[in-house]
Symmetry: C2
Subunit: 313 residues, 2 copies
Protein backbone atom coordinates (compact mmCIF):
# COMPACT_ATOMS: atom_id res chain seq x y z
CA UNK A 1 0.00 0.00 0.00
CA UNK A 2 1.26 3.42 -0.91
CA UNK A 3 1.85 6.06 1.70
CA UNK A 4 -0.92 8.63 2.16
CA UNK A 5 -0.37 12.08 3.56
CA UNK A 6 -2.57 14.31 5.72
CA UNK A 7 -2.10 18.06 5.80
CA UNK A 8 -4.09 20.75 7.61
CA UNK A 9 -3.93 24.50 7.25
CA UNK A 10 -6.32 27.30 8.11
CA UNK A 11 -8.72 26.48 5.26
CA UNK A 12 -9.16 22.76 5.81
CA UNK A 13 -7.68 19.27 6.04
CA UNK A 14 -6.38 17.55 2.89
CA UNK A 15 -5.43 13.96 2.06
CA UNK A 16 -2.77 13.32 -0.62
CA UNK A 17 -1.47 10.15 -2.28
CA UNK A 18 2.23 9.39 -2.62
CA UNK A 19 2.55 11.74 -5.65
CA UNK A 20 0.86 14.54 -3.71
CA UNK A 21 -2.29 14.38 -5.74
CA UNK A 22 -5.40 15.34 -3.87
CA UNK A 23 -7.52 12.37 -2.76
CA UNK A 24 -9.88 13.96 -0.31
CA UNK A 25 -10.49 17.24 1.44
CA UNK A 26 -12.74 18.89 3.96
CA UNK A 27 -12.90 22.69 4.37
CA UNK A 28 -13.25 24.24 7.79
CA UNK A 29 -16.13 26.49 8.56
CA UNK A 30 -14.40 27.15 11.77
CA UNK A 31 -10.82 26.49 12.79
CA UNK A 32 -12.05 24.61 15.89
CA UNK A 33 -13.30 21.77 13.67
CA UNK A 34 -9.69 20.84 12.85
CA UNK A 35 -9.17 18.10 15.43
CA UNK A 36 -12.51 16.45 14.76
CA UNK A 37 -11.97 16.37 10.99
CA UNK A 38 -8.42 15.07 11.30
CA UNK A 39 -9.65 12.21 13.49
CA UNK A 40 -12.36 11.33 11.00
CA UNK A 41 -9.81 11.13 8.22
CA UNK A 42 -7.47 9.01 10.32
CA UNK A 43 -10.21 6.47 10.89
CA UNK A 44 -11.09 6.41 7.20
CA UNK A 45 -7.63 6.09 5.66
CA UNK A 46 -5.36 4.57 8.39
CA UNK A 47 -1.61 5.09 8.54
CA UNK A 48 -1.70 8.73 7.53
CA UNK A 49 1.54 10.64 8.04
CA UNK A 50 2.36 14.32 7.84
CA UNK A 51 4.41 15.28 4.78
CA UNK A 52 8.06 16.09 5.44
CA UNK A 53 11.05 17.20 3.39
CA UNK A 54 10.41 16.85 -0.32
CA UNK A 55 6.77 15.90 0.17
CA UNK A 56 6.14 18.95 2.31
CA UNK A 57 7.61 21.14 -0.40
CA UNK A 58 5.31 19.61 -3.00
CA UNK A 59 2.31 19.97 -0.69
CA UNK A 60 3.02 23.63 -0.11
CA UNK A 61 3.38 24.37 -3.82
CA UNK A 62 0.05 22.60 -4.32
CA UNK A 63 -1.60 25.39 -2.31
CA UNK A 64 -0.08 28.07 -4.52
CA UNK A 65 -3.00 27.44 -6.84
CA UNK A 66 -5.15 30.55 -7.19
CA UNK A 67 -8.35 28.70 -6.37
CA UNK A 68 -7.35 28.63 -2.67
CA UNK A 69 -6.50 32.31 -2.40
CA UNK A 70 -10.01 33.40 -1.63
CA UNK A 71 -10.42 30.87 1.16
CA UNK A 72 -7.06 31.74 2.65
CA UNK A 73 -7.96 35.41 2.63
CA UNK A 74 -11.35 34.84 4.21
CA UNK A 75 -10.16 32.49 6.93
CA UNK A 76 -7.18 34.66 7.71
CA UNK A 77 -9.45 37.62 8.28
CA UNK A 78 -11.64 35.45 10.49
CA UNK A 79 -8.68 34.37 12.57
CA UNK A 80 -7.40 37.93 12.95
CA UNK A 81 -10.80 39.08 14.10
CA UNK A 82 -10.86 36.38 16.74
CA UNK A 83 -7.32 37.28 17.80
CA UNK A 84 -8.27 40.94 18.15
CA UNK A 85 -11.40 40.05 20.03
CA UNK A 86 -9.45 37.91 22.46
CA UNK A 87 -6.69 40.45 22.89
CA UNK A 88 -8.96 42.53 25.12
CA UNK A 89 -7.93 41.19 28.47
CA UNK A 90 -8.54 42.50 31.91
CA UNK A 91 -5.30 44.44 31.99
CA UNK A 92 -6.47 46.48 28.99
CA UNK A 93 -9.62 47.38 30.88
CA UNK A 94 -7.44 48.37 33.83
CA UNK A 95 -5.40 50.63 31.55
CA UNK A 96 -8.58 52.20 30.19
CA UNK A 97 -9.88 52.76 33.69
CA UNK A 98 -6.74 54.44 35.03
CA UNK A 99 -6.44 56.59 31.90
CA UNK A 100 -10.02 57.56 32.36
CA UNK A 101 -9.54 58.51 36.00
CA UNK A 102 -6.59 60.70 35.05
CA UNK A 103 -8.54 62.43 32.28
CA UNK A 104 -11.48 63.00 34.59
CA UNK A 105 -9.08 64.62 37.04
CA UNK A 106 -7.83 66.89 34.29
CA UNK A 107 -11.36 67.90 33.32
CA UNK A 108 -12.39 68.44 36.92
CA UNK A 109 -9.38 70.68 37.48
CA UNK A 110 -10.18 72.79 34.43
CA UNK A 111 -13.85 73.16 35.31
CA UNK A 112 -13.42 73.75 39.02
CA UNK A 113 -10.93 76.55 38.39
CA UNK A 114 -13.55 78.14 36.18
CA UNK A 115 -16.29 77.56 38.74
CA UNK A 116 -14.25 79.16 41.50
CA UNK A 117 -13.43 82.22 39.43
CA UNK A 118 -17.02 82.63 38.39
CA UNK A 119 -18.44 82.02 41.85
CA UNK A 120 -15.99 84.49 43.37
CA UNK A 121 -17.76 87.31 41.54
CA UNK A 122 -20.72 86.58 43.75
CA UNK A 123 -19.08 85.62 47.03
CA UNK A 124 -15.29 86.00 47.04
CA UNK A 125 -14.96 85.56 50.81
CA UNK A 126 -16.50 82.10 50.72
CA UNK A 127 -14.49 81.06 47.69
CA UNK A 128 -11.32 82.00 49.57
CA UNK A 129 -12.37 80.28 52.79
CA UNK A 130 -13.06 76.77 51.50
CA UNK A 131 -9.95 75.22 50.00
CA UNK A 132 -11.12 71.63 49.65
CA UNK A 133 -12.60 71.23 46.17
CA UNK A 134 -15.20 68.59 46.98
CA UNK A 135 -16.33 70.44 50.10
CA UNK A 136 -16.60 73.61 48.02
CA UNK A 137 -18.91 71.98 45.49
CA UNK A 138 -20.93 70.27 48.18
CA UNK A 139 -21.60 73.50 50.09
CA UNK A 140 -22.53 75.37 46.92
CA UNK A 141 -24.99 72.70 45.86
CA UNK A 142 -26.51 72.58 49.34
CA UNK A 143 -26.66 76.40 49.28
CA UNK A 144 -24.85 76.49 52.59
CA UNK A 145 -22.74 79.41 51.45
CA UNK A 146 -23.24 82.25 53.85
CA UNK A 147 -22.71 85.59 52.18
CA UNK A 148 -21.54 88.22 54.60
CA UNK A 149 -23.37 91.51 54.75
CA UNK A 150 -20.35 93.55 53.79
CA UNK A 151 -19.24 91.04 51.15
CA UNK A 152 -17.28 92.46 48.24
CA UNK A 153 -19.19 90.11 45.92
CA UNK A 154 -21.63 91.50 43.42
CA UNK A 155 -25.31 90.83 43.93
CA UNK A 156 -25.94 88.50 41.03
CA UNK A 157 -29.49 87.91 39.97
CA UNK A 158 -30.99 84.44 40.13
CA UNK A 159 -30.65 84.25 36.37
CA UNK A 160 -26.91 84.90 36.59
CA UNK A 161 -26.46 82.35 39.37
CA UNK A 162 -28.24 79.57 37.50
CA UNK A 163 -25.46 78.74 35.00
CA UNK A 164 -22.98 78.76 37.89
CA UNK A 165 -25.12 76.25 39.72
CA UNK A 166 -25.42 73.96 36.68
CA UNK A 167 -21.66 74.05 36.28
CA UNK A 168 -21.29 73.06 39.94
CA UNK A 169 -23.72 70.18 39.38
CA UNK A 170 -21.69 68.91 36.44
CA UNK A 171 -18.43 69.08 38.36
CA UNK A 172 -20.10 67.16 41.18
CA UNK A 173 -21.21 64.59 38.60
CA UNK A 174 -17.61 64.21 37.49
CA UNK A 175 -16.52 63.72 41.11
CA UNK A 176 -19.10 60.96 41.49
CA UNK A 177 -17.98 59.41 38.19
CA UNK A 178 -14.40 59.41 39.42
CA UNK A 179 -15.43 57.56 42.57
CA UNK A 180 -17.38 54.99 40.54
CA UNK A 181 -14.43 54.42 38.27
CA UNK A 182 -12.10 54.02 41.20
CA UNK A 183 -14.34 51.32 42.62
CA UNK A 184 -14.41 49.61 39.22
CA UNK A 185 -10.63 49.84 38.92
CA UNK A 186 -10.25 48.33 42.37
CA UNK A 187 -12.58 45.47 41.49
CA UNK A 188 -10.73 44.78 38.24
CA UNK A 189 -7.39 44.75 40.00
CA UNK A 190 -8.65 42.46 42.74
CA UNK A 191 -9.63 40.04 40.00
CA UNK A 192 -6.55 40.40 37.79
CA UNK A 193 -3.65 41.25 40.04
CA UNK A 194 -4.54 41.03 43.75
CA UNK A 195 -0.91 40.89 44.83
CA UNK A 196 0.05 44.02 42.94
CA UNK A 197 -3.03 45.75 44.36
CA UNK A 198 -2.14 44.77 47.92
CA UNK A 199 1.39 46.07 47.78
CA UNK A 200 1.15 49.07 45.45
CA UNK A 201 -2.48 50.18 45.79
CA UNK A 202 -4.88 50.61 42.89
CA UNK A 203 -3.59 53.92 41.48
CA UNK A 204 0.13 53.15 41.48
CA UNK A 205 -0.49 49.56 40.40
CA UNK A 206 -2.67 50.62 37.48
CA UNK A 207 -0.20 53.30 36.44
CA UNK A 208 2.59 50.71 36.39
CA UNK A 209 0.51 48.45 34.14
CA UNK A 210 -0.46 51.38 31.94
CA UNK A 211 3.11 52.58 31.52
CA UNK A 212 4.43 49.14 30.65
CA UNK A 213 1.51 48.40 28.30
CA UNK A 214 0.28 45.17 29.83
CA UNK A 215 0.57 42.97 32.88
CA UNK A 216 2.80 40.64 30.86
CA UNK A 217 5.24 43.43 29.99
CA UNK A 218 5.33 44.58 33.59
CA UNK A 219 6.00 41.00 34.69
CA UNK A 220 9.00 40.85 32.37
CA UNK A 221 10.58 44.06 33.68
CA UNK A 222 13.36 43.79 36.27
CA UNK A 223 12.75 45.44 39.63
CA UNK A 224 15.11 48.29 38.76
CA UNK A 225 12.92 49.23 35.78
CA UNK A 226 9.77 49.08 37.88
CA UNK A 227 11.43 51.39 40.41
CA UNK A 228 11.89 54.05 37.71
CA UNK A 229 8.66 53.63 35.74
CA UNK A 230 7.08 57.06 35.57
CA UNK A 231 10.42 58.85 35.99
CA UNK A 232 11.38 58.65 32.32
CA UNK A 233 11.87 62.38 32.02
CA UNK A 234 14.24 62.59 34.96
CA UNK A 235 16.07 59.47 33.79
CA UNK A 236 16.74 60.89 30.33
CA UNK A 237 17.76 64.19 31.85
CA UNK A 238 20.26 62.25 33.94
CA UNK A 239 21.58 60.43 30.89
CA UNK A 240 21.83 63.61 28.84
CA UNK A 241 23.12 66.16 31.29
CA UNK A 242 24.51 64.05 34.10
CA UNK A 243 21.94 65.39 36.53
CA UNK A 244 21.20 63.24 39.58
CA UNK A 245 19.54 59.89 38.92
CA UNK A 246 15.88 59.69 39.83
CA UNK A 247 15.11 57.44 42.79
CA UNK A 248 11.53 56.55 41.90
CA UNK A 249 8.72 57.23 39.45
CA UNK A 250 5.13 56.38 40.27
CA UNK A 251 6.28 54.80 43.54
CA UNK A 252 6.82 58.34 44.79
CA UNK A 253 3.12 58.45 45.70
CA UNK A 254 3.29 55.31 47.83
CA UNK A 255 2.34 56.02 51.46
CA UNK A 256 5.35 54.08 52.74
CA UNK A 257 7.59 56.56 50.92
CA UNK A 258 5.78 59.79 51.65
CA UNK A 259 5.43 58.94 55.34
CA UNK A 260 9.09 58.19 55.90
CA UNK A 261 12.02 60.61 56.14
CA UNK A 262 13.59 61.78 52.94
CA UNK A 263 16.90 60.02 53.34
CA UNK A 264 15.12 56.65 53.32
CA UNK A 265 13.10 57.25 50.16
CA UNK A 266 15.56 55.67 47.77
CA UNK A 267 16.00 52.53 49.89
CA UNK A 268 12.26 52.07 50.36
CA UNK A 269 11.62 52.55 46.65
CA UNK A 270 14.17 49.86 45.83
CA UNK A 271 12.66 47.39 48.28
CA UNK A 272 9.14 48.17 47.13
CA UNK A 273 10.05 47.71 43.47
CA UNK A 274 11.60 44.37 44.38
CA UNK A 275 8.44 43.14 46.07
CA UNK A 276 6.22 44.54 43.33
CA UNK A 277 8.23 42.69 40.72
CA UNK A 278 7.64 39.48 42.72
CA UNK A 279 3.93 40.25 43.20
CA UNK A 280 3.37 40.84 39.48
CA UNK A 281 5.01 37.53 38.59
CA UNK A 282 2.75 35.70 41.02
CA UNK A 283 -0.27 37.57 39.61
CA UNK A 284 0.57 36.80 36.01
CA UNK A 285 0.91 33.07 36.66
CA UNK A 286 -2.21 33.10 38.83
CA UNK A 287 -0.35 32.11 41.98
CA UNK A 288 -1.52 32.35 45.57
CA UNK A 289 -2.20 35.61 47.38
CA UNK A 290 0.98 36.72 49.10
CA UNK A 291 0.55 40.49 48.71
CA UNK A 292 -0.11 41.13 52.40
CA UNK A 293 3.03 39.24 53.40
CA UNK A 294 5.16 41.12 50.87
CA UNK A 295 3.89 44.47 52.06
CA UNK A 296 4.49 43.50 55.67
CA UNK A 297 8.09 42.60 54.88
CA UNK A 298 8.70 46.09 53.54
CA UNK A 299 6.89 47.70 56.46
CA UNK A 300 8.81 45.68 59.03
CA UNK A 301 12.11 46.55 57.43
CA UNK A 302 11.49 50.25 57.63
CA UNK A 303 9.61 50.44 60.92
CA UNK A 304 13.04 50.05 62.51
CA UNK A 305 14.07 53.12 60.58
CA UNK A 306 15.31 54.95 63.69
CA UNK A 307 17.87 52.25 64.41
CA UNK A 308 18.88 52.18 60.78
CA UNK A 309 19.54 55.88 60.72
CA UNK A 310 21.51 55.73 63.96
CA UNK A 311 23.66 52.90 62.73
CA UNK A 312 24.23 54.77 59.56
CA UNK A 313 23.37 51.75 57.46
CA UNK B 1 -20.23 138.40 59.83
CA UNK B 2 -17.17 136.28 59.32
CA UNK B 3 -16.93 133.79 56.50
CA UNK B 4 -17.68 130.16 57.31
CA UNK B 5 -16.40 127.22 55.33
CA UNK B 6 -17.91 123.83 54.51
CA UNK B 7 -15.75 120.87 53.59
CA UNK B 8 -16.71 117.24 52.86
CA UNK B 9 -14.49 114.22 52.45
CA UNK B 10 -15.11 110.50 52.70
CA UNK B 11 -15.48 110.53 56.48
CA UNK B 12 -17.95 113.37 56.93
CA UNK B 13 -18.90 117.03 56.46
CA UNK B 14 -17.13 119.73 58.48
CA UNK B 15 -17.84 123.41 59.18
CA UNK B 16 -14.95 125.78 59.91
CA UNK B 17 -14.76 129.43 60.96
CA UNK B 18 -12.55 131.98 59.20
CA UNK B 19 -9.45 130.71 61.06
CA UNK B 20 -10.21 127.15 60.04
CA UNK B 21 -11.17 126.11 63.52
CA UNK B 22 -13.77 123.39 63.69
CA UNK B 23 -17.27 124.63 64.48
CA UNK B 24 -19.39 121.65 63.66
CA UNK B 25 -19.14 118.24 62.08
CA UNK B 26 -21.17 115.23 61.11
CA UNK B 27 -19.60 111.87 60.26
CA UNK B 28 -20.97 109.71 57.46
CA UNK B 29 -22.13 106.24 58.15
CA UNK B 30 -22.47 105.92 54.45
CA UNK B 31 -21.10 108.06 51.68
CA UNK B 32 -24.58 108.44 50.25
CA UNK B 33 -25.58 110.67 53.19
CA UNK B 34 -23.27 113.39 51.91
CA UNK B 35 -25.78 115.49 49.98
CA UNK B 36 -28.38 115.33 52.71
CA UNK B 37 -25.95 116.41 55.42
CA UNK B 38 -24.49 119.21 53.33
CA UNK B 39 -27.98 120.60 52.73
CA UNK B 40 -28.77 120.48 56.43
CA UNK B 41 -25.64 122.47 57.23
CA UNK B 42 -26.36 125.00 54.53
CA UNK B 43 -29.76 125.68 56.05
CA UNK B 44 -28.27 126.01 59.52
CA UNK B 45 -25.32 128.30 58.79
CA UNK B 46 -26.16 130.23 55.57
CA UNK B 47 -23.56 131.59 53.19
CA UNK B 48 -21.20 128.65 53.47
CA UNK B 49 -18.43 128.52 50.87
CA UNK B 50 -15.91 125.85 49.99
CA UNK B 51 -12.35 126.66 51.11
CA UNK B 52 -9.97 127.64 48.34
CA UNK B 53 -6.30 128.58 48.09
CA UNK B 54 -4.78 129.25 51.47
CA UNK B 55 -7.89 128.16 53.34
CA UNK B 56 -7.97 124.86 51.48
CA UNK B 57 -4.36 124.25 52.45
CA UNK B 58 -5.16 124.88 56.09
CA UNK B 59 -8.22 122.65 55.91
CA UNK B 60 -6.25 119.80 54.46
CA UNK B 61 -3.54 120.03 57.08
CA UNK B 62 -6.30 119.99 59.72
CA UNK B 63 -7.10 116.43 58.61
CA UNK B 64 -3.52 115.33 59.08
CA UNK B 65 -4.39 114.83 62.71
CA UNK B 66 -4.01 111.19 63.73
CA UNK B 67 -7.47 111.01 65.22
CA UNK B 68 -8.98 110.88 61.72
CA UNK B 69 -6.72 108.12 60.39
CA UNK B 70 -8.87 105.31 61.66
CA UNK B 71 -12.01 106.74 60.06
CA UNK B 72 -10.25 107.38 56.78
CA UNK B 73 -8.97 103.81 56.74
CA UNK B 74 -12.36 102.35 57.55
CA UNK B 75 -14.31 104.41 55.05
CA UNK B 76 -11.73 103.90 52.34
CA UNK B 77 -12.07 100.13 52.73
CA UNK B 78 -15.82 100.50 52.59
CA UNK B 79 -15.63 102.50 49.38
CA UNK B 80 -13.24 100.02 47.78
CA UNK B 81 -15.55 97.17 48.64
CA UNK B 82 -18.42 98.97 47.00
CA UNK B 83 -16.28 99.74 43.97
CA UNK B 84 -15.29 96.09 43.64
CA UNK B 85 -18.87 95.01 44.10
CA UNK B 86 -20.03 97.36 41.38
CA UNK B 87 -17.22 96.45 39.04
CA UNK B 88 -18.96 93.18 38.22
CA UNK B 89 -20.85 94.27 35.18
CA UNK B 90 -22.60 92.27 32.55
CA UNK B 91 -19.56 92.14 30.31
CA UNK B 92 -17.65 90.31 33.05
CA UNK B 93 -20.40 87.73 33.18
CA UNK B 94 -20.15 87.42 29.40
CA UNK B 95 -16.42 86.83 29.68
CA UNK B 96 -17.01 84.17 32.34
CA UNK B 97 -19.61 82.49 30.18
CA UNK B 98 -17.50 82.33 27.04
CA UNK B 99 -14.48 81.13 29.01
CA UNK B 100 -16.64 78.50 30.54
CA UNK B 101 -17.97 77.30 27.19
CA UNK B 102 -14.43 76.99 25.90
CA UNK B 103 -13.30 75.01 28.95
CA UNK B 104 -16.31 72.73 28.70
CA UNK B 105 -15.36 72.07 25.08
CA UNK B 106 -11.86 71.16 26.19
CA UNK B 107 -13.17 68.75 28.83
CA UNK B 108 -15.68 67.21 26.45
CA UNK B 109 -12.94 66.60 23.91
CA UNK B 110 -10.71 64.92 26.47
CA UNK B 111 -13.46 62.71 27.80
CA UNK B 112 -15.05 61.78 24.49
CA UNK B 113 -11.70 60.67 23.10
CA UNK B 114 -11.41 58.43 26.12
CA UNK B 115 -14.97 57.17 25.76
CA UNK B 116 -14.44 56.32 22.10
CA UNK B 117 -11.24 54.42 22.78
CA UNK B 118 -12.84 52.52 25.62
CA UNK B 119 -16.05 51.80 23.77
CA UNK B 120 -14.13 50.60 20.72
CA UNK B 121 -12.90 47.61 22.74
CA UNK B 122 -16.49 46.46 22.81
CA UNK B 123 -17.76 47.55 19.41
CA UNK B 124 -15.08 49.04 17.14
CA UNK B 125 -17.26 48.92 14.02
CA UNK B 126 -19.88 51.19 15.56
CA UNK B 127 -17.29 53.56 16.99
CA UNK B 128 -15.83 53.94 13.50
CA UNK B 129 -19.20 54.38 11.83
CA UNK B 130 -20.58 57.31 13.84
CA UNK B 131 -18.39 60.37 13.49
CA UNK B 132 -20.66 62.97 15.04
CA UNK B 133 -19.83 63.18 18.73
CA UNK B 134 -23.27 64.08 20.02
CA UNK B 135 -24.94 61.43 17.89
CA UNK B 136 -22.41 58.90 19.19
CA UNK B 137 -23.26 59.64 22.81
CA UNK B 138 -26.98 59.70 22.10
CA UNK B 139 -26.98 56.28 20.44
CA UNK B 140 -24.88 54.74 23.20
CA UNK B 141 -27.17 56.06 25.89
CA UNK B 142 -30.24 54.83 24.02
CA UNK B 143 -28.49 51.48 23.53
CA UNK B 144 -29.14 51.70 19.82
CA UNK B 145 -25.70 50.40 19.04
CA UNK B 146 -26.05 47.32 16.93
CA UNK B 147 -23.15 44.98 17.42
CA UNK B 148 -22.51 42.87 14.36
CA UNK B 149 -22.24 39.14 14.74
CA UNK B 150 -18.70 38.99 13.43
CA UNK B 151 -17.65 42.11 15.32
CA UNK B 152 -13.99 42.32 16.26
CA UNK B 153 -15.00 43.81 19.61
CA UNK B 154 -14.53 41.84 22.79
CA UNK B 155 -17.58 40.55 24.61
CA UNK B 156 -17.45 42.76 27.67
CA UNK B 157 -19.47 41.76 30.68
CA UNK B 158 -22.22 43.99 31.98
CA UNK B 159 -19.92 44.93 34.83
CA UNK B 160 -17.27 46.13 32.40
CA UNK B 161 -19.79 48.09 30.34
CA UNK B 162 -21.21 49.94 33.30
CA UNK B 163 -18.33 52.40 33.85
CA UNK B 164 -18.33 53.10 30.10
CA UNK B 165 -22.01 53.95 30.28
CA UNK B 166 -21.55 56.26 33.26
CA UNK B 167 -18.79 58.05 31.40
CA UNK B 168 -21.12 58.49 28.43
CA UNK B 169 -23.77 59.90 30.76
CA UNK B 170 -21.34 62.45 32.15
CA UNK B 171 -20.21 63.54 28.70
CA UNK B 172 -23.85 63.92 27.73
CA UNK B 173 -24.33 66.04 30.85
CA UNK B 174 -21.48 68.29 29.73
CA UNK B 175 -23.08 68.61 26.28
CA UNK B 176 -26.32 69.73 27.92
CA UNK B 177 -24.41 72.13 30.16
CA UNK B 178 -22.74 73.64 27.12
CA UNK B 179 -26.13 74.23 25.50
CA UNK B 180 -27.48 75.86 28.65
CA UNK B 181 -24.47 78.13 28.88
CA UNK B 182 -24.81 79.12 25.26
CA UNK B 183 -28.41 80.14 25.86
CA UNK B 184 -27.31 82.14 28.89
CA UNK B 185 -24.53 83.80 26.93
CA UNK B 186 -26.97 84.72 24.19
CA UNK B 187 -29.37 86.22 26.71
CA UNK B 188 -26.61 88.24 28.38
CA UNK B 189 -25.42 89.59 25.05
CA UNK B 190 -28.91 90.50 23.95
CA UNK B 191 -29.14 92.56 27.12
CA UNK B 192 -25.66 94.11 27.06
CA UNK B 193 -24.63 94.39 23.44
CA UNK B 194 -27.45 93.54 21.03
CA UNK B 195 -25.72 95.24 18.09
CA UNK B 196 -22.50 93.30 18.54
CA UNK B 197 -24.54 90.11 18.88
CA UNK B 198 -26.45 90.81 15.68
CA UNK B 199 -23.42 91.40 13.53
CA UNK B 200 -20.80 89.06 15.05
CA UNK B 201 -22.87 86.32 16.67
CA UNK B 202 -22.60 85.26 20.29
CA UNK B 203 -19.35 83.25 20.14
CA UNK B 204 -17.26 85.71 18.13
CA UNK B 205 -18.76 88.68 19.96
CA UNK B 206 -18.02 87.19 23.36
CA UNK B 207 -14.50 86.23 22.33
CA UNK B 208 -13.85 89.81 21.21
CA UNK B 209 -15.02 91.12 24.58
CA UNK B 210 -12.99 88.49 26.41
CA UNK B 211 -9.81 89.24 24.49
CA UNK B 212 -10.07 92.99 25.02
CA UNK B 213 -11.02 92.61 28.68
CA UNK B 214 -14.27 94.54 28.72
CA UNK B 215 -16.87 96.09 26.47
CA UNK B 216 -15.34 99.49 27.21
CA UNK B 217 -11.89 98.41 26.03
CA UNK B 218 -13.36 96.87 22.91
CA UNK B 219 -15.23 100.10 22.25
CA UNK B 220 -11.98 102.05 22.40
CA UNK B 221 -10.16 99.82 19.92
CA UNK B 222 -9.91 100.97 16.31
CA UNK B 223 -11.47 98.73 13.67
CA UNK B 224 -8.03 97.54 12.56
CA UNK B 225 -7.34 96.16 16.02
CA UNK B 226 -10.71 94.45 16.16
CA UNK B 227 -9.95 92.84 12.81
CA UNK B 228 -6.84 91.21 14.25
CA UNK B 229 -8.06 90.32 17.77
CA UNK B 230 -7.37 86.62 18.25
CA UNK B 231 -4.53 86.64 15.69
CA UNK B 232 -1.88 87.87 18.10
CA UNK B 233 0.40 84.93 17.47
CA UNK B 234 0.40 85.40 13.69
CA UNK B 235 0.79 89.15 14.10
CA UNK B 236 3.88 88.84 16.27
CA UNK B 237 5.29 86.24 13.91
CA UNK B 238 4.81 88.77 11.13
CA UNK B 239 6.57 91.48 13.11
CA UNK B 240 9.43 89.21 14.12
CA UNK B 241 10.12 87.24 10.98
CA UNK B 242 8.41 89.25 8.27
CA UNK B 243 5.95 86.45 7.57
CA UNK B 244 2.68 87.44 5.90
CA UNK B 245 0.35 89.63 7.93
CA UNK B 246 -2.71 87.89 9.34
CA UNK B 247 -6.00 88.99 7.77
CA UNK B 248 -8.30 88.20 10.68
CA UNK B 249 -8.43 86.65 14.14
CA UNK B 250 -11.68 85.53 15.69
CA UNK B 251 -13.57 86.90 12.68
CA UNK B 252 -12.24 83.90 10.78
CA UNK B 253 -15.16 81.89 12.16
CA UNK B 254 -17.77 84.34 10.88
CA UNK B 255 -20.15 82.70 8.38
CA UNK B 256 -19.79 85.60 5.95
CA UNK B 257 -16.08 84.84 5.71
CA UNK B 258 -16.17 81.07 5.63
CA UNK B 259 -18.94 81.03 3.01
CA UNK B 260 -17.18 83.33 0.57
CA UNK B 261 -14.22 82.63 -1.70
CA UNK B 262 -10.76 82.90 -0.22
CA UNK B 263 -9.64 85.95 -2.15
CA UNK B 264 -12.41 88.01 -0.55
CA UNK B 265 -11.65 87.02 3.05
CA UNK B 266 -9.40 89.95 3.82
CA UNK B 267 -11.82 92.50 2.40
CA UNK B 268 -14.81 91.04 4.24
CA UNK B 269 -12.86 90.91 7.50
CA UNK B 270 -11.98 94.59 7.13
CA UNK B 271 -15.58 95.61 6.46
CA UNK B 272 -16.88 93.42 9.27
CA UNK B 273 -14.39 94.85 11.76
CA UNK B 274 -15.47 98.32 10.70
CA UNK B 275 -19.13 97.60 11.35
CA UNK B 276 -18.38 95.76 14.58
CA UNK B 277 -16.43 98.75 15.85
CA UNK B 278 -19.49 100.88 15.13
CA UNK B 279 -21.86 98.40 16.73
CA UNK B 280 -19.82 98.21 19.94
CA UNK B 281 -19.80 101.99 20.29
CA UNK B 282 -23.59 102.08 19.94
CA UNK B 283 -23.89 99.26 22.48
CA UNK B 284 -21.61 100.91 25.01
CA UNK B 285 -23.55 104.17 24.94
CA UNK B 286 -26.87 102.32 24.97
CA UNK B 287 -27.92 103.55 21.54
CA UNK B 288 -30.63 102.18 19.30
CA UNK B 289 -30.57 98.77 17.70
CA UNK B 290 -28.90 99.03 14.30
CA UNK B 291 -27.17 95.65 14.24
CA UNK B 292 -29.42 94.20 11.55
CA UNK B 293 -28.80 97.15 9.24
CA UNK B 294 -25.05 96.97 9.73
CA UNK B 295 -24.97 93.28 8.95
CA UNK B 296 -27.11 93.82 5.86
CA UNK B 297 -24.68 96.45 4.59
CA UNK B 298 -21.84 93.94 4.72
CA UNK B 299 -23.95 91.21 3.18
CA UNK B 300 -25.11 93.47 0.35
CA UNK B 301 -21.60 94.58 -0.39
CA UNK B 302 -20.35 91.06 -0.83
CA UNK B 303 -23.37 89.44 -2.41
CA UNK B 304 -22.20 91.14 -5.60
CA UNK B 305 -18.94 89.32 -5.14
CA UNK B 306 -18.96 87.83 -8.63
CA UNK B 307 -18.99 91.26 -10.23
CA UNK B 308 -16.26 92.41 -7.92
CA UNK B 309 -14.01 89.57 -8.88
CA UNK B 310 -14.66 90.09 -12.58
CA UNK B 311 -13.91 93.77 -12.40
CA UNK B 312 -10.79 92.97 -10.48
CA UNK B 313 -11.62 95.51 -7.80
Amino acid sequence: MHQKYIFSNIIGTFIFNEHINLLDKKSFKNIEQKQKIEKEFEKKYKNLVKPEGKELEKTLSFFKNKEFFNDFHKNNLELTKIAIKESVKDDILIIQAINNIQEIDKSVNILIKRLREWYALNNPEFEYLVENQEKFIELILKKQTKKEKDSMGADLSKEDLEPIMSLAKQVDGLFQLRKEQEIYLNKMMEKTCPNLLAIAGSTIGAKLIEQSGSLKNLMEFPASTIQLLGAEKALFRHMKTGARTPKYGFLHEHPLISQNPRNLHGKIARTLADKISLAVKVDYFKGKFIGDKLLKQVEDKFSKKDTIIKQGI
